[in-house]
């Protein structure tokens, strides 16, 4: 090989090498970190593998919020107007967490069908409905009157 060819060859090797490392990292990273979104109904129908982290979305059921005194644990129910799921969360809630608000939580289901959330997300807009939640409500309620609680 001439020096130019040798140089080119080495560059191609570097490029292929780094690209394949990056590809491996991407595949590994994606596998570990994809968070699927499920609705309470999907969870109730057993579509979610146990012990897997996922995002659960829905409306906060009015009157379902209970706070434990002195600890920061809070319990509430999430609904898609068909099924409800009991959620347990410890920590401060986002500014816009309130009854009837569409929110997304992140966590896992335990054996007694309680969802343990380590994150609760509600965006800064009182009209805001997380897109997944909005669509889900539209899907689940096609055949019934929409009853989004105020």
């Amino acid at each position: 090989m001439s020096p130019t060819q040798k140089k080119r060859f080495i560059f191609v090797v570097i490029l292929v090498f780094s690209a394949s490392i990056a590809a491996a990292l991407v595949i590994y990273g994606l596998n570990q970190n994809l968070l699927y979104f499920y609705s309470p109904t999907q969870v109730m129908h057993g579509k979610v593998p146990s012990k897997m982290n996922f995002r659960l979305g829905g409306l906060v059921v009015p009157g379902s919020i209970t706070k434990e005194n002195d600890s920061m644990r809070i319990h509430f129910k999430l609904t898609d107007n068909n099924n409800e799921i009991q959620v347990s969360y410890k920590g401060l809630l986002p500014d816009l967490f309130r009854e009837g608000q569409g929110i997304v939580t992140l966590g896992y289901m335990d054996d007694s069908n309680i969802f343990h959330a380590d994150q609760v997300l509600a965006k800064h807009d009182e009209n805001y409905m997380p897109p997944e939640v909005a669509e889900l409500l539209a899907d689940e309620n096609k055949n019934k009157p929409i009853a989004i609680p105020k």
Binding site: P3, T4, K6, K7, I10, F11, I14, L15, S18, A19, I21, A22, L25, V26, Y28, G29, L30, Q32, N33, L34, L35, Y36, F37, R55, K67, N69, D70, M72, G91, L92, L93, D95, L96, H124, D125, E126, P131, E132, E135
Partner: protein
């Protein structure tokens, strides 16, 4: 009336932009210089119209003209003056106006500052800049007119989104746009150079200050955005791997590759096509960023379908720009021959490696950002890519980059010997390894290997260029200035890395319910909760917490975290209070009231948080020194010749 004037000015500016594209194109095709040697004039005319149109919109905000829908949606009589000016770019339509205005400012700067350019070359540059301007102006005029009237006009506006009512938010978007749009100049120079089949070192010398300026603004814009998120969102975080953030980070990565490859082209007259390609990619990613943020696809791919005009317009514009520029590249690039050669072990090679790492990093970010959108568009389910993805993927790409940074600046152009470089760097390597192991071990006892590796490499990145500055102190000023600019830029990366690693691995967090005079210890601090009282702001009421901070039983300061409720939008907003020192931040934000005067409080202790901001500031300063050095060198050459 005002809305009509504004709209007409906007259309006039679109016309001027069209002429700016068409006239020189005809001239270039017919080879008639009379069609293109006056092209500057059209750029000036376009700027004047655009500027006046923008001022009309600003005036509408200042005069509370709620007969304009956009003003009514984004302003309010009680909004402070500062935020009225910022509210102009607070929504979709106005931010696009700002985009085009900034494009015009860049175009003007090219016309004024690049006097030495040949008419033909300048004409080509202005055609490209004009074409981009036409695209965006048409987008505003046909889909996003900010001057739409609202009848009857309401008495009061809906107020600016409270999240945006922050000094950081005032300057962050213009800075970011200056960066985004700034890559357009490098892009136009590349297309013009490709058309002329000339991308030599003279070309690189002209394009370099423009690339650097865009990069400096983008760096500042991203830095300000992070600073705003840290202060305003109340979660103690500063970067969330949100698609909007990624949209600004990708052009930054490619832009960083570009500022290095353009140096190689300038100094050695090689990598010419590569530099042009990077400029095309950087600008395409800026456009992609604009598309992601402005089309609504990020809210949901289906929101894109709700407002198809806008989304499809930008998507077509994006494909057209990328497609056309790559086509030009494909036709012209092979005609550009480079002569200079270099050895396998040389600064050229190391800079190429750095380029590949940066490009691959940008690509992985792109993948993580677009993956959920693609999956959703194919109806394969809804998912999101969690922040750990980006950390896992980027850490192995960025850490070797730090290693190469210092090796590259210590290696000679063209050819060098590994042993010589090793001898030059061995002292620094030794200091970096010893201090990089001893420091975290003594203070933090970390379990993770990556903390040691990152500390060693950060110190390595800071000391390497520092050593070169010391060696250059007695040499001539131009060389010294170059060394100083490299020091600031590279050390900035090291300092930033230290800030990122220490503030994320060793931060402490407490969330608890506090009542009057209760204490809590966090790190070296003791925090005492006093009370929460009611304060009034111009357009909000505030629940203001009073917390006393002690260190070693000595009173340090009192912090006032707030919970603001904006009257018109009745949105609660958390304003964190931060006690910031060089080596750590104490960050307090208020949660919510619980029974009997007790409040939920969130307290963070974040070591080395200031390093993050200092690192970004260093990079910014490095960029500015580098621009001024380029200008000074140019003056010298002009004076001697």
């Amino acid at each position: 009336m005002l809305s009509l004037i504004g709209y007409i000015l906007l259309c006039a500016s679109l016309l001027a932009a069209l002429v700016q594209v068409v006239s020189p194109t005809i001239g270039l095709l017919l080879d008639e210089s009379k069609y293109y040697n006056k092209v500057r004039v059209f750029a000036y005319i376009q700027f004047v119209f655009m500027f006046c149109s923008y001022m009309a919109l600003t005036f509408a905000f200042l005069s509370n003209d709620f007969s304009i829908l956009y003003v009514a949606n984004n302003s309010n009589t009680s909004l402070p003056l500062m935020y009225k000016i910022a509210a102009v770019w607070g929504g979709h339509e106005g931010s696009l106006m700002l985009w085009v205005l900034i494009l015009n400012v860049w175009t003007m700067s090219v016309c004024i500052l690049n006097k030495a350019l040949s008419f033909k070359f300048l004409a080509r540059v202005l055609v490209v800049l004009g074409a981009v301007s036409v695209g965006f102006l048409a987008f505003i005029v046909f889909t996003s007119n900010p001057f739409i009237e609202l009848t009857p006009p309401p008495l009061q506006g809906r107020d600016l989104n409270p999240l945006l009512q922050d000094p950081g938010m005032m300057i962050h978007p213009p800075m970011l746009y200056m960066g985004y749009v700034g890559f357009c100049v490098a892009f136009a120079f590349s297309i013009a150079g490709l058309m002329a089949e000339n991308l030599n070192s003279e070309w690189a010398e002209k394009v370099r200050p423009w690339v650097l300026s865009a990069w400096v603004f983008l760096t500042a814009g991203i830095g300000l955005g992070s600073w705003w998120a840290y202060n305003e969102l109340g979660w103690g975080g500063w970067w969330f791997w949100d698609p909007v953030e990624n949209a600004s980070f990708m052009p930054w990565l490619v832009g960083t590759a570009l500022i290095h490859s353009v140096i190689v082209t300038q100094k050695r007259n090689i990598f010419q096509n590569w530099t042009a390609l990077l400029a095309i990619v950087a600008f395409s990613l800026s456009l992609l960023g604009t598309f992601l943020v402005r089309s609504g696809v990020l809210v949901s791919v289906h929101a894109f379908a709700n407002d198809p005009e806008r989304g499809i317009f930008i998507l077509c514009f994006l494909s057209l720009t990328v497609g056309l520029s790559l086509l030009i590249f494909a036709i012209k690039a092979h005609k550009i021959k480079t002569k200079g050669g270099f050895d396998i072990f040389s600064r050229e090679t190391l800079l190429l490696i750095n380029n590949i790492f940066l490009l691959v990093a940008a690509f992985t970010v792109l993948l993580g950002t677009l993956y959920p959108l693609i999956i959703d568009a194919l109806n394969l389910g809804k998912l999101s890519v969690g922040p750990p993805y980006f950390n896992i993927v980027l850490a192995p790409l960025i850490l070797p980059l730090l290693l190469f940074m210092t090796i590259a600046i210590s290696t000679a152009w063209k050819s060098d010997k590994p042993l010589l470089v090793f001898n030059r760097l061995k002292k620094i390597a030794l200091i970096a390894v010893i201090s990089g192991i001893a420091f975290p071990l003594y203070f933090y006892m970390p379990n993770e290997m990556v903390v040691f590796i990152a500390t060693i490499l950060s110190i390595w990145t800071i000391l390497g260029p520092l050593d070169i500055v010391i060696k250059h102190i007695t040499k001539n000023t131009s060389l010294l200035l170059r060394a100083v600019s490299v020091f600031f830029a590279h050390a900035g990366v090291g300092i930033l890395m230290l800030g990122i690693v220490y503030s994320s691995y060793f931060s402490l967090q407490k969330e608890l319910v506090m009542q009057t005079n209760e204490f809590v210890n966090i790190g070296p601090y003791k925090v005492q909760y006093k009370n929460v009282d009611l304060q009034k702001g111009p357009n909000y009421v505030s629940l203001m917490g009073n917390l006393d901070i002690f260190k070693n039983e000595v009173f340090i300061t009192r912090l006032f975290p707030e919970k603001r409720i904006y009257k018109l939008q009745s949105k609660p907003m958390t304003e964190a209070a931060i006690h910031s020192t060089l080596f750590h931040d104490l960050y307090i934000s208020l949660g919510e009231p619980l029974q009997r005067d007790r409040w939920g409080v969130r307290i963070y202790y974040k070591p080395f948080m200031s390093f993050l901001w200092i690192g970004i500031l260093f990079m910014f300063v490095g960029g500015i020194i580098s621009i001024s050095t380029s200008v000074i060198e140019k003056r010298k050459i002009q004076n001697t010749s």
